[in-house]
């Protein structure tokens, strides 16, 4: 009798497991289709034609130079795809970082930017755009990226150093992150207020986050970082599961909480910095994607991690698609679309939150 029951339990587990895996595969399929659709919208080519061109390009088929197919290939690959692929990678990376942060901080309202990274990046970029000051010798383009990257490392390093002195609990990290965000934002304001109207607009557009100026050469760093972090985080999914039980339980289960948390903060900081220094600060994706995934596949990080990577990419690709479809009404960057998607989802999350935990 008992034997049967156990087997039943096992089978049940296996069936939910296969259901979750199927679900992830479906999501992956949706992501691929959405990406293809996004690549074909606004190009004037049909969906099948776009898929054909991309497939041919990937399999190494070449067309005679300056034939219509060659132009299609050239246009799609150099003008459309960089933006779409950047949205895809950025979505994946930010959602991954958000998942790690939420599990690590034991706080459902944590997101990728909780430690103040975004405001540091913002200061770096704004200083480059408005004052023309850069850590590198290049001012525009690469200079902004390098500045943003270094800027985003500053709050991360301060958090890591301060945690030694004021305690290592999640709430302390969140508080320090909040304070640093305030501080860097006020510095940004100070720089922005002295700016001329044109450079103010440039700086503001950078802050909102967009992928319109993406090019293939921007991709390698963020791709490598995202892939590497995804692998590392996936390997430590079990540890993250333990972390989200709370610090005491994690300790009693034999996890070095302090060390693991530091590793997570360092990893996510570098990951986020490598993304937002190219795209600007895209909000909400790191908050919303993990929640959507948890809602669909449950709380086990083994599935939440790949799930939110896929979900994050899908959402950001869709947001990019929307932002490009709205091009005729004016230039509305990805970041604005994302705020409009994210804010209501956030409201929904709050309304259906069952537990009455304090936010801070």
């Amino acid at each position: 009798m008992a034997d049967v029951e156990i087997r039943m339990g096992k089978e049940e587990y296996k069936s939910t497991l296969s259901r979750k895996i199927t679900f992830l595969l479906i999501c992956l399929g949706v992501l691929i289709v959405t990406t293809l659709i996004s690549c074909s919208v606004g190009t004037g080519y049909e969906f099948t034609k776009t898929a054909q061109v991309i497939w041919d390009h990937l399999t190494g088929v070449t067309y005679p130079i300056r034939s219509p197919d060659w132009w299609a290939d050239y246009y799609i690959f150099n003008n459309v795809m960089p933006g779409v692929i950047m949205a895809l990678i950025a979505g994946a990376g930010l959602a991954l970082a958000g998942t790690v942060m939420q599990s690590m901080m034991e706080n459902p309202l944590a997101d990728a930017y909780t430690t103040g990274i975004s405001s540091g990046a913002c200061l770096g970029a704004v200083v480059a755009i408005i004052m023309g000051f850069s850590y590198s010798t290049v001012i525009s383009g690469a200079g902004i990226v390098i500045n943003a990257f270094i800027g985003s490392m500053i709050p991360a390093i301060i958090v890591i150093l301060m945690v030694r002195y004021v305690g290592n609990s999640p709430s302390t990290i969140i508080l320090i992150g909040t304070a640093l965000t305030f501080f860097f934002n006020s510095m940004v304001t100070l720089v922005m207020i002295t700016a001329s109207a044109e450079s103010l607009q440039d700086a503001y557009i950078w802050q909102v986050g967009s992928v319109t100026n993406a090019s293939w050469s921007d991709m390698p760093l963020m791709l490598v970082m995202t892939l590497a972090s995804a692998v590392l985080v996936q390997l430590s999914a079990a540890k993250l599961n333990i972390m989200s039980l709370g610090e005491k339980s994690a300790k009693s289960l034999g996890l070095d909480v302090v060390q693991f948390r530091m590793l997570c903060i360092i990893l996510t900081s570098v990951l986020i910095a490598s993304i937002i220094s190219f795209t600007g600060i895209i909000g909400f994706i790191g908050l919303v994607a993990p929640h959507m995934t948890r809602y669909l596949v449950g709380g086990d990080n083994k599935f939440v991690i790949p799930g939110s990577i896929i979900m994050g990419s899908t959402v950001l690709v869709v947001a990019d698609l929307i932002s490009r479809s709205l091009m005729s009404f004016g230039n509305i960057p990805l970041g604005v679309v994302m705020s409009f998607i994210g804010a209501p989802v956030f409201l929904y999350l709050i309304v259906r939150r069952k537990s009455q935990k304090d936010v801070f």
């Binding site: 006020s186 304001t189 207020i193 103010l200 557009i205 909400f284």
Partner: protein
């Protein structure tokens, strides 16, 4: 007997802090009057003030500058600082959250949305009075979040956590709309919205003062009058119940008052941060958490803080900076200091 003596001494010390702040405001006020492009000495300001009051003006030019340009700004700085710090003290005590400030319900983001709509409208439509349209729009929109919380309270029970969360959510929704407006706006409109957002007192004239002054005096008096209820709220909803206070109603009433008061000043100045967050904490370091002393102490300290910040703002930069920037730059390190202190020894509570 000795215990009583000690208590009275402690209370006297607290009132002394309030008095000290008030005296310092009086000194700082004269300092604020003497700062500016046209140089007027510290002592001269006294003379000009007295001459203006007694009616025999010897230097009409200096009199005009001091009375009509600098005095309203300085007075308004005191009012705004007092209102924000008082509001912050009430919010922090009532929501039992040291990170709460008068903008927690989303007053600032509402005001920003209203103001940016008005700014965009005024660049396309001819409005009869841009300044006042902007103020009215900012005031109206800044009360929306409070109304949402009130409406929500008819359906479900409100708790402090829910209020904070609703405030954050409203803030996100409003700022999404503001983002859209700012992105699609022209360069000059963007610059104008941005400078409104930072918060400045430089536009203050005598016409600005009466309405916010009246509203803030009434609201402030009501809040001080309610200090017992607010005190009880700090013990938690259950304890409040058992002490005969309806926590839900108290929260709603006080929040509405704070929103109204904050909205009344914010719609004139834009969002000046940190006074409402840091001011009450510093006052708390001196007078403790009993709102009987905390509310007046926070108000006078807030007034002093913003008045001094405005003095700094006027001398820094080529033509002076908005006071919002200065209060953020002073406020941030203070905030971090308070955080660290809070960890070490719980100043909160």
């Amino acid at each position: 007997m000795a215990g009583k003596e000690d208590y009275y001494r402690a209370v006297r010390k607290k009132w002394l802090f309030v008095l000290l702040c008030a005296v310092m405001i009086a000194v700082a006020l004269i300092l604020a009057l003497s700062i500016g492009m046209y140089e007027i000495g510290f002592a001269d300001c006294y003379r000009i003030l007295i001459e203006h009051i007694t009616g025999n003006i010897t230097d009409p030019y200096a009199d005009d500058i001091v009375i009509n340009t600098r005095l309203p700004i300085a007075l308004f700085a005191i009012i705004v600082g007092a209102v924000l710090a008082l509001g912050g003290a009430v919010m922090q005590t009532m929501l039992r959250n040291p990170l709460a400030d008068p903008y927690t319900m989303g007053v600032s983001s509402g005001a920003l949305l209203g103001a940016s709509i008005a700014i965009v409208l005024s660049s396309t439509l001819p409005l009869f009075n841009e300044q006042w349209v902007r103020i009215v729009m900012a005031f109206g929109f800044s009360l929306i979040p409070a109304m949402v919380i009130l409406l929500f309270s008819f359906k479900r029970r409100v708790t402090s956590t829910k209020i904070i969360l609703i405030g954050i959510a409203m803030m996100y929704i409003f700022s999404a709309i503001v983002q859209l407006i700012m992105i699609t706006a022209s360069e000059e409109t963007l610059a104008e919205i941005y400078s409104w957002r930072v918060g400045t007192l430089a536009l203050t004239t005598w016409e600005t003062i009466p309405i916010p002054l009246a509203i803030s005096i009434v609201c402030g008096a009501v809040l001080m009058f309610h200090y017992r209820r607010i005190n009880v709220m700090m013990a938690g909803t259950k304890s409040a119940h058992s002490m005969g206070v309806d926590p839900e109603r108290t929260i709603l009433v006080e929040i509405t008052i704070v929103s109204l008061m904050t909205a009344a000043v914010v719609c004139f100045t834009g969002t000046i941060g940190f006074v409402g967050l840091v001011g009450p904490h510093i006052a708390r370091l001196f007078v403790g958490s009993d709102t009987k002393h905390l509310l007046p102490a926070a108000a006078v300290f807030g007034g002093l803080f913003l008045l001094l910040a405005n003095c700094l703002a006027r001398v820094s930069g080529e033509y002076g900076l908005p006071v919002g920037v200065i209060s953020a730059i002073i406020g941030c390190p203070l905030f971090i200091f308070i955080l660290i202190r809070m960890r070490r020894k719980s100043a909160w509570r």
